[in-house]
């Protein structure tokens, strides 16, 4: 489905500060879209508006043709830090996603928890508290929780920003696989060009504040849907990466 998430003349100011310039944009269902742009340009703000956590100053955002007014579990957030609740075990953190769901009974919830524990390789840590597991594990818990909640759209704000390079690679691969397998729509915010090219079906490049779209790159057309790690060493990947870097330099005026 095209235009599953739709920005319609969306703009946002905080008081006198214009953060997002009037933007119109449609995102496909079951695709992974990366919002790329310099720090402080307004990416988080854009994403929060999709989540219903911030209200556009003008224009609107539609999800499946329906206007977004408040947060609900169809759109789940994954943050860089404070992503999992420290007072809950891994299992309970995942269960928290379904805590307020009345449509599932206990058995169904337990089954879903089991499913996501396995899917993310967390089964051995089910009873552990977040501070006893690695940062990568914690981000897996956060993603699992949003999926357990039944979110259709994952809003991920630099979720791997604080991880070491190796863990980060692994999680990128996993995210990509899971996004395809679970058929989710992902909006992924980052300012890391490599990460953007590796993950994205499509990259939307934003200008400095106030954010406006300066480039729209169809990565899927170049790299296809499958993203094994080795793809990073291919000529195509390099070219694409360089192209994005150039765009950033020329279009946003930022030295990367």
């Amino acid at each position: 489905m095209t235009n599953y998430v739709q920005f319609v003349d969306t703009a946002k100011s905080f008081g006198p500060v214009n953060v997002v310039r009037k933007t119109s944009l449609g995102l496909d269902r079951n695709s992974l879209v990366v919002f790329l742009g310099p720090s402080g340009c307004g990416k988080t703000t854009l994403m929060r508006m999709v989540g219903g956590l911030d209200e556009p100053s003008s224009g609107s955002i539609l999800l499946g043709g329906e206007k977004v007014v408040r947060p609900d579990r169809r759109r789940g957030m994954v943050f860089q830090s404070y992503s999992s609740f420290p007072w809950l075990t891994v299992e309970k953190n995942i269960a928290f996603g379904m805590r307020y769901r009345k449509d599932l009974d206990a058995a169904q919830k337990a089954e879903r928890i089991g499913h996501y524990l396995d899917l993310f390789g967390l089964a051995d840590f089910a009873g552990s508290y977040p501070n006893r597991i690695s940062g990568g594990m914690r981000q897996r818990v956060a993603i699992a929780r949003t999926l357990a909640a039944g979110s259709d759209v994952l809003l991920m704000d630099e979720p791997f920003g604080a991880l070491d390079a190796l863990t980060r690679e692994r999680l990128q691969v996993e995210l990509r696989q899971i996004q395809i397998r679970e058929e989710k729509t992902v909006i992924f915010v980052t300012h890391d060009v490599e990460e953007a090219v590796f993950l994205a079906d499509r990259i939307i490049l934003f200008s400095r504040r106030p954010a406006s779209v300066v480039a729209d790159i169809d990565v899927a057309a170049e790299l296809g849907p499958d993203r094994p790690l080795e793809i990073r060493e291919t000529q195509k990947f390099f070219e694409l990466r360089n192209k994005v870097l150039h765009l950033i330099r020329n279009e946003t005026g930022v030295v990367v």
Partner: protein, 246 residues
């Protein structure tokens, strides 16, 4: 274990130095009685002056005042952080009252509450509530926005955000702050218990002071110290039990 041994050794050393200083007569015994005299005084107070009863009365007063303060401060502190209007209305007033010297308010509290238990509880409450409410408000402000937003996106309403996220996140610091303010509450005991006094360890200390029974004064002070030490350790234990995830 090593730490425990060091703690005990340090305490023993302090007491030994104290005994030595007192025996050597460096300071007149009217001002600093030896620890052994204090222990003897403590024993007489226990056996002949109903010390246990006075301790029980004081403990009850402190806990009633403290719990009243906590019951009021927690919701009010949370409201102050959650609703800007409430914060704007209360914060300056509380900040002002917080600095008022409690002893200066004694006659006023007698006019309001009489010379019965209410005044004593009120004075103890006064020393605790205003400190605690600001601490709670600060804790509430520190709840990471991310947690609140995650909860809202999985369908929590405001009340659920409060109970399932904010309070859970605040739990450890809240208990710490309660532990600290409970200590403050004890320090107001003398002020509260010399008002129309007839019971409590503050009263015992004050009477002993009136008759220059310094060993008894010291013994009373030591008892408060011991109660503080024990309470503190118990609350720390509770902290470890409740917040294993830390």
């Amino acid at each position: 274990m090593v730490e425990f041994a060091v703690s005990v050794a340090a305490a023993v050393l302090v007491v030994a130095l104290w005994e030595l200083a007192a025996r050597a007569g460096i300071i007149a015994p009217q001002f600093l009685p030896s620890p052994s005299r204090v222990v003897v005084a403590l024993w007489t107070m226990l056996t002949e002056q109903n010390l246990i009863w006075h301790v029980a009365v004081s403990t009850a007063r402190v806990w009633i005042a403290f719990l009243l303060a906590a019951i009021m401060a927690i919701p009010i502190g949370i409201m102050m952080s959650s609703y800007r209007i409430v914060g704007a209305a209360l914060e300056p007033i509380i900040d002002f009252i917080r600095y008022l010297p409690v002893p200066a308010l004694v006659p006023l509290s007698i006019i309001w509450f009489g010379v019965g238990e209410e005044t004593k509880i009120f004075l103890l409450w006064l020393g605790t509530f205003f400190q605690l409410v600001l601490l709670v408000a600060d804790d509430m402000r520190r709840v990471p926005q991310e947690f609140v937003e995650v909860a809202r996106t999985v369908g929590a309403n405001s009340r659920q955000v409060m109970t399932d996220v904010a309070l859970r996140w605040m739990g450890p610091t809240l208990l710490d702050n309660l532990r600290i303010t409970l200590g403050w509450c004890w320090t107001y005991l003398i002020i509260a218990e010399i008002v129309a006094a007839d019971s409590g360890i503050g009263y015992v200390i004050w009477t002993a002071r009136r008759f220059v029974k310094t060993p008894e004064v010291m013994a009373g002070v030591v008892v408060i110290g011991l109660i503080g030490l024990v309470t503190d350790q118990l609350l720390r234990l509770l902290h470890r039990r409740l917040f294993r995830y830390l």
